[in-house]
Symmetry: C2
Subunit: 202 residues, 2 copies
């Protein structure tokens, strides 16, 4: 399998980390996101939304959207499970994955895009909204800190995709100067634990 | 199982429709979202994010976030499958579910919240961003129309969760005057097909 990738962007990293946790190798092809190579006719034929990463299977099927790529990988390579095993675990992991995605990753990305104008050639940045999004992301770090007071990992006793998305979002958040607070000791403990995994280097 | 629900909001509807497709019944409890009943201590103990819907299982476990509730239901009640069966199908359905969610449902909801100030007691509306979000949603209707030129349902030959999310988003979009264009004949064909399902009344 091939992955069309960009090393510096947060969403491709979650797919690399997910694959590394599964011990599955892939051929990574770097695409120049800032230069707009993802919007070339060749890349748009693989993903009409013009986003990265894209998984291309040997039969030519292309799957884009990071969490959809992870859904495919989880089904094709079930071990170790990263999205829960029982129905309740699957629901709880999906709940935290979604919260981290919508309340942290997306606001961080929106804060970056809307306050810096990084993609102003392909979207309309609204600075005031970027500021609001950044504040929302900061607020959610408190939710995570509280959850991690009683829980080794975000969705419970087991490492999961929710931890991967959170790590990628928190590391990327440095570009907009959002960091874990010194008083958020549970989140600090979790960050050290999760960023120490070999997959975090993927 | 109990579902804490609000009849008029688009996300609770997708859970009701998903359950109706599975033929699974639940006890629905109406919560006054506009009045802020979802922010009461009792409701925050079930979902600290203060959002609806919430699934409460008989053992007291609470799962929130619509797509996490659907992930639980899909695992607990596999038939009929609404999220794909093979690994590739699961990936393709998740891809379209995600696209519909991030490029249609979320922008429609943002357009509504940021342009009307409906939740200005609990968030900071940025009108200009609401307008941009609405334009993004309109653009995505073209993507769906193109996809449906060659495909009975959004993710292929089978009805899936992607169709449920799209129907709920498109019906809700009327509140911000976003509608399927007359020239979008494939999307019109699909809308008639999907809104004619019994589950659409759930």
């Amino acid at each position: 399998m091939k992955i069309y990738d960009t090393q510096t962007a947060p969403n491709p990293r979650r797919v690399r980390m997910f694959l590394a946790e599964k011990g599955v190798s892939a051929e990574y092809i770097q695409v120049d996101l800032k230069g707009g190579e993802n919007l070339s006719p060749q890349m748009l034929s693989k993903n009409p939304m013009g986003k990265l990463p894209i998984l291309e299977l040997d039969d030519g099927t292309c799957i884009s959207e990071s969490d959809a790529i992870c859904a495919y990988i989880e089904a094709a390579f079930p071990n170790p499970p990263l999205c829960g095993e029982s129905a309740i675990e699957k629901g709880v992991v999906a709940m935290w994955q979604r919260r981290v995605d919508l309340c942290l990753m997306l606001p961080v990305v929106h804060c970056f895009q809307h306050t810096t104008g990084y993609f102003s050639d392909r979207m309309t940045p609204v600075g005031d909204y970027g500021v609001v999004a950044g504040k929302d992301a900061v607020k959610f770090l408190d939710v995570l800190d509280k959850q991690l007071a009683d829980s080794t990992y975000i969705a419970g006793d087991n490492f999961s995709i929710a931890d991967i998305v959170a790590l990628c979002a928190i590391d990327f958040a440095r570009v907009v100067k959002i960091r874990i607070g010194e008083e958020q000791t549970h989140l600090q403990r979790w960050y050290k634990l999760v960023s120490g995994r070999q997959s975090a280097n993927a």
